[in-house]
Symmetry: C2
């Protein structure tokens, strides 16, 4: 689910500095969320993140 994934992304980014989409991918996986780099790229754009 997109909104769930995006809210977890915001939590992760809020807590620590994430330096790459692949790292974010790993952190999301630890939270039980699987997504590809393409999807994370879109989420980051949608959320207005750097």
């Amino acid at each position: 689910m997109k909104s769930r994934r995006q809210s977890v992304i915001l939590e992760i980014v809020d807590g620590r500095a994430v330096s790459s989409q692949e790292q974010l991918r790993t952190l999301l996986k630890e939270q039980g969320i699987d997504a590809t780099q393409a999807t994370l790229s879109r989420d980051i754009r949608d959320l207005g993140l750097v």
Copy 2:
């Protein structure tokens, strides 16, 4: 010459918004300066540009 090239880069960037190193490369060429993407990447780092 490196310093000459870098000062022209600063002039170009000051005037307009440059969105890629290839575009900068083209603009430099119009000024008679030839350089590769690798060199421009180093110049941008040296000049502290984004």
